[in-house]
């Protein structure tokens, strides 16, 4: 969690955004993120993000569910308290398939959603800084992170040259904090310091 300096630009068309992302990376700028109102297939690849391993996590949660169900039912019905249901064997595996399946799905789904929320840092009352409120409407917002070596003016004119509009320098908090969106719980205590440093 720290306030950083960014150069941001807005795009309105995927056809402009894609080449722009490639050019930006080729020019050596560090793309902090691109905020889009809907998922754009291939943008993650263009930005050089690695694939998510959420699937793997889901698989692990799923087999945990399977093991929990089979293990628990076996223990309960064959070791802890044997009950004779219609003369059938105590270890009645076929009859346990439905519950085993349901628990597999339940564990995988709940686990994946919680992992997703954790990875993306999503939760009720979590507040994050926005670069542009229109990025959830119709605007693709690209944010370049400014390091010590970055020449602001150059970055801005570069963004304009690749088709970005409304190019700005913004100081934004990169982490999250607890707060509500109807109240201005501000995180810019260090704004002056950041500005002074640059």
């Amino acid at each position: 969690m720290s306030v950083k300096k960014f150069v941001t630009g807005c795009f309105y068309d995927e056809a402009v955004l894609f080449p722009a992302v490639k050019k930006t990376r080729r020019a050596g700028y560090k793309i902090h993120d691109v905020f889009t109102p809907f998922p754009i297939h291939g943008l993650d690849k263009a930005m050089g993000l690695r694939d998510t391993s959420l699937h793997t996590a889901g698989f692990i949660y799923g087999i945990t569910g399977t093991a929990t169900a089979v293990g628990f039912i076996t223990w309960a019905l064959t070791i802890d308290w044997k009950l004779n249901f219609g003369g059938k064997p105590f270890f009645a595996l076929p009859a346990w398939i439905p519950i085993t399946f349901e628990l597999t799905v339940l564990f995988a789904a709940v686990g994946m959603v919680l992992t997703f929320c954790y990875l993306c840092q999503l939760a009720p009352f979590v507040k994050k800084d926005h670069f542009n409120p229109r990025s959830t409407d119709d605007t693709f917002v690209m944010a370049l992170e400014c390091t010590d070596k970055t020449n602001e003016a150059e970055a801005m004119s570069f963004l304009q040259s690749i088709g970005a509009t409304n190019v700005q320098v913004q100081y934004k908090e990169t982490g999250w904090w607890l707060g509500r969106y109807d109240k201005d719980t501000k995180r810019f205590e260090k704004k002056a310091e950041v500005e002074a440093a640059h």
Binding site: E14, D33, V34, F35, T36, P37, F38, P39, I40, L43, D44, M47, L49, T52, L54, H55, F72, I73, A76, L77, D80, W81, L83, F85, A95, W96, P98, I99, F101, E102, L103, V105, L106, A108, A109, V110, M112, V113, F116, C117, L119, C120, L122, A123, P124, F125, V126, K127, K128, H130, P133, R134, S135, T136, D137, D138, W176, R180, Y181, D182
Partner: protein, 482 residues
């Protein structure tokens, strides 16, 4: 892959009108941000009134016990479980649209999936009421869960279909809710960022979990949706399969049939789509969303209705054939005497079911009828009545005249409290739906934007090509003729 993905050359765009992304946001957010209309208030208050009636009915049942209902020695499940199966079935269409059609890459689902998923959740909530209150001593409802207790611990019977149901329904509800809400997050963020009023900023701010639309988050979101769809697909099939096991694993004539799982699942999708039609034909009109839920959507869903209705019809006939072919006198009696015979006490319900579920949907073989909103609405009500009677026929006619003719005298009719309980779940369902349509976007905004351009431009490109070719060909022919 491309071989498997055939796209019709003349597929019309999924969203009507030449819209840009901002217009989509405006259109879908308008009903959420505007004050509710008079019509909304009337509908909402009627629903709340029904809900209150339901609460009174349930209170009567809790105070005086299940004796408040007209269940008797052989008809032990009556309206209660009929309603349970009916509501669970209705829920299935939502998951079919959101999960199975996602895996099949059916672009049209984006227009209707949000509302259908919401319908699923509310329908499962309604369904869950019935087994819970049917327990009578509802304060002991937690006995169905396997928890360490002071009775041994005496565990629940994991071999029983009734316990499978507990796990199936609760898993189904949880997974549907997670799927629905994770899809809602980006749209709630859209509403949050547009909010002008204080309460709206707070409400959507909290509800959107701090969603920003970061590319990495979208990538994970896509992965999550796909896996949840993959999990929900077998889940939805398993849920109604397990509901059908409640009957099929017994040895009661009329219940003891191996065809039940697929037949129940087809029936569930059938009735669910009918309920989706009932809701959406009205919703699109009242909220002015005709450009998003187009006649094309209505038509496609009517096709699903005629398909699943016919599957259900074949299942009915198969049951009759198997009863006859088995040459078991009890099976024969259950099917040909208790059901098919119009002069038997409940014969009317069997023929009502046949008429509503098998005969009437055949009207949708005609394109004009599929695209007619009045016909669609009327049919959707008819199908839901038919599907309710299907469950009634299965549950009541199989047991009201059983092996002991001395127990035959009673003709099961519900009491006012049984009916009130059922109406109460309508109240619950529609109260939830009205609140949903007021406070949440009824169409998945982000998903619509995702398909907006693709579907539109594809169409234009292909259509232009076809139009050009046809005109040229036509001109060519003309030249040679003369």
């Amino acid at each position: 892959m491309s071989l498997l993905r055939y796209e019709s050359q003349v597929r019309p765009p999924l969203v009507d009108g030449d819209k840009d992304y901002h217009q989509v946001t405006e259109d879908i957010c308008r009903p959420v941000e505007a004050k509710p209309s008079k019509l909304w208030w009337i509908g909402f208050l009627i629903s709340v009134a029904l809900l209150i009636f339901g609460i009174i009915s349930v209170t009567m049942e809790v105070i005086y016990g299940t004796g408040q209902w007209n269940l008797n020695k052989t008809v032990g499940w009556g309206w209660d479980i009929t309603n349970f199966v009916w509501w669970v079935g209705i829920g299935h269409a939502g998951t079919l649209i959101s999960a199975i059609l996602l895996l099949f890459r059916q672009g049209w689902r984006t227009g209707v999936n949000r509302a259908a998923e919401a319908m699923t959740i509310f329908a499962v909530m309604c369904a869950g009421q019935f087994p819970i209150w049917h327990m009578g001593r509802v304060w002991n409802a937690f006995f169905v869960l396997p928890y360490p207790n002071t009775r041994g611990p005496l565990w629940v019977n994991f071999n029983s279909p009734l316990l499978w149901d507990v796990f199936a329904i609760s898993t189904y509800f949880t997974v549907s809710l997670l799927f629905w809400y994770s899809g809602l997050l980006p749209d709630l963020a859209t509403l949050r960022d547009r909010a002008k009023k204080k309460w709206a900023k707070m409400f959507y701010g909290v509800a959107a979990f701090g969603w920003t639309g970061s590319t990495k988050h979208w990538q994970r979101h896509e992965a999550l949706s796909l896996v949840l769809a993959g999990l929900s697909t077998p889940l939805v099939l398993s849920v109604h399969t397990i509901v059908s096991f409640d009957f099929a694993t017994s040895v009661v004539p009329g219940w003891h049939t191996t065809i039940f799982p697929p037949y129940f699942v087809a029936g569930a999708i059938f009735s669910g789509f009918a309920m989706v039609q009932t809701l959406l034909v009205v919703t699109r009109k009242v909220l002015g969303l005709e450009d998003y839920i187009t006649i094309e959507h209505i038509e496609v869903m009517n096709k699903v209705i005629v398909l699943t209705g016919s599957i259900v019809g074949i299942a009915y006939l198969t049951e009759l054939f198997m009863a006859w072919y088995s040459a078991v006198e009890y099976e024969n009696f259950a099917f040909f005497e208790n059901r098919l015979n119009l002069n038997s006490p409940y014969g009317w319900s069997y023929w009502l079911m046949m008429g509503c579920n098998v005969l009437s949907p055949q009207i949708f073989w005609f394109r004009k009828m599929r695209r007619n909103l009045f016909v669609t609405f009327f049919m959707s009500i008819l199908v839901n009545i038919g599907m309710w009677f299907e469950r009634f026929v299965i549950i009541v006619t199989s047991v009201y005249r059983d092996y002991l003719p001395s127990a035959w005298s009673t003709y099961y009719t519900p009491t006012i409290w049984e009916v009130g309980f059922y109406l109460g779940t309508f109240g619950l369902f529609f109260t939830c739906y009205f609140l949903f349509s007021k406070f949440f976007p009824v169409i998945a905004i982000a998903e619509i934007k995702h398909i907006l351009k693709r579907s539109g431009e594809n169409y234009k490109e292909k259509m232009e090509d076809i139009e050009k070719k046809d005109t040229e060909g036509f001109a060519h022919e003309q030249e040679h003729d003369h």
